[in-house]
């Protein structure tokens, strides 16, 4: 995927995440489009490039959040490395494997954000966050993974077509 397209997609996902997605909030959970996009990009791109997407996506997210810059990137970077590790364990990362990774990543990303929040002195409520934020977000992310994965695969294949 071209750099410009990737940055544009991540910016768009961050903007959608702070405008359209809160309209469909269940309790406090809503789809995390940036996370889904970074996970899907990590499947179709080499590690270095995926890490760059994770950093850019995380910065976009923090620009539109109370969190300090870089806080969301920590979780996203770890998830990219997790996908890289999974890639070494299985023959191919398909949609089913990615579904499992998404469930783990969503929970891990929120837990990492809670830890970062606590470290920088922001007040947190872990049990309530688990029940009212993490669980509904997992359900949403599993649903939204399909269109995001489809889009990322199409864009990656379009890029991979050799020039004649």
């Amino acid at each position: 995927m071209q750099t410009f397209v990737g940055v544009l997609l991540l910016g768009l996902a961050a903007a959608l995440g702070s405008t359209f997605m809160p309209q469909i909030r269940v309790f406090s959970g809503m789809p995390d489009l940036v996370l889904l996009l970074v996970l899907s990009m990590a499947v179709f791109n080499p590690l270095e490039r995926a890490v760059a997407w994770a950093l850019i996506g995380g910065i976009f997210q923090d620009m539109l959040s109370i969190m300090p810059l870089g806080a969301s990137a920590v979780g996203l970077v770890l998830m990219v490395f997790f996908i890289d590790w999974v890639r070494g364990q299985v023959f191919r990362i398909g949609l089913l494997t990615l579904l499992g990774v998404t469930v783990i990543s969503t929970a891990a990303q929120k837990i990492i954000l809670l830890i970062v929040s606590a470290l920088v002195g922001l007040p947190i409520r872990p049990l309530e966050t688990a029940a009212y934020v993490i669980l509904p977000t997992i359900v949403y992310n599993v649903i939204f993974l399909f269109p995001v994965y489809w889009l990322t695969r199409r864009l990656s294949r379009a890029r991979a077509v050799p020039k004649t």
Binding site: S28, D32, G70, S72, F81, R125, Y132, T137
Partner: protein, 289 residues
Amino acid sequence: MNSGLSYRRSWRANRGLFLFVTLMACAALIIASRVGLLTPFEDAFAAPLNAISAVFNRVAFRINASAGELAQLQALQRRNAELEEALAQFQAELVELREIASDYQRLADLLDYTSAARSMEFVTAEVIAFDQNAIFRTISINRGTRDGIAVGMPVVTRQGLVGRVIQVSATAARVMLVTETTSSVSGRLQTTRAEGAVFGAPNGNLIMSMIPLDAEVREGDLVVTSGLGGGFPADLVIGQVTSVRPAENGLSQEAQIRSLIDFDTLEFVLVVTNFQPVDLSVFDQVGRN
């Protein structure tokens, strides 16, 4: 060329080091952002992102409103009937309240007292984004220090209290909603004057706790800010009591409050610019010393 390729290969081979360096970069970003070193960068880059979000938000509200209009037609008809019934009741109460207001006005004039609400100065702001991070309930507005916005200023709508400003840049500000679980506001029941603390529930509603056991709390009672603690002006509407029960410790009562504001579809808010929150932290330090 070859050295470049081998350099990249060594990076790939040493994933642990790569991960460590990346995480250190993230940590450096967090620290720099927290101490304010990145504020000019954040302001510069947040401006276009906020502008895009503002456009998206308007579109989202339009779509939401259109979809809602169709789906809620029946609900609106029912609601209309209820409101007509309530209106008849309120008209009777209005006559009575006008009598009380005229009495109050006479007494207030005698005391040379000016109502706080009447002396408030507002800046109207558009909601441009909701917090990306679902853990915290905050909104971004398109007014900043250039418009006289400062940290701590209360934010309201015609329906009542929205929250308070917690971060501010030149052109935008971030507002912590009263529905945020870590937010706390001193509240008072309008009818019985019983006091309590109002904070956000995880499901997005409000809870008023620490209401004295002997205080009478009824469904429909209006809850307003008490002004205690100096964080908010008194008499801003917070919401209406929907249910009440004894607190788990058995020493007080706890009421569920429903705000009259739909926080997920906020479009415009008013920032109270002439209210100076009282900083009580100095007394905590004195207490510790």
